[in-house]
Amino acid sequence: MKNLDQIESFLLTPSYRKWGWILLIGGIPLVLLVFTLVVMTGAMDRFSAFWSDWGLFFLHVPLSIGLFFLLFSKEKNEDEMFLALRFKAMMHGIRFTFAAMLLFPLMAWVSTIWTGQPYHFPEVGGNLAVVTLLLLYANATYGYFKYQLAKDEE
């Protein structure tokens, strides 16, 4: 039986790593290619409207799925060290994201005040919802593991 810290069934097979790189590296050139085509065909106005609505979505989807595949696909020789490194990296990632989501909008807000622009508190709700969801799930999983440990002590 595997220890709790050696569970790796949630990981994808190593072949997903290739797709991760394809999505990650291919995502940006794809957007640039579309942009170039739009400029060349003179459809800039329509593209601007489309980009403001959907551009970030199309940019984020391949990048985020690519990054997800890269992080969650097994190494060719997956073992406890890579598992430990992945967990540690995820902890740092969550911490950085939490700080960034709080600090970046705040910096933008201070910047608007500093430059004398109209007072406007930054919209952070949507971004923070992602972090909250992430932390909620991480806490729930952590709690479940601790519950299992406590149950084993009975």
Partner: protein
């Protein structure tokens, strides 16, 4: 943690790759353990003990930073 895995490995004439295959981890992990960058689990330590034919204390131990 300090260790003399490299020495024990040399005594048995094993490469990092050989040892990695014998205990079911990657070569990178053996390298990291030897350089003190990663502390292996008890299971991996016991597997190494079996391969070297020596108790864990003979090739791994605490150093002053662990006190």
């Amino acid at each position: 943690m300090k260790n003399s895995i490299k020495v024990e490995r040399a005594k048995k004439d094993l490469t990092q790759e050989d040892l990695a295959q014998l205990i079911g981890v990657s070569r990178q992990t053996i390298n990291s353990i030897e350089k003190g960058k990663y502390v292996p689990s008890t299971v991996v330590s016991l597997k190494m003990s079996k391969v070297f034919g020596a108790p864990i204390n003979d090739f791994m131990g605490l150093d002053e930073n662990d006190a």
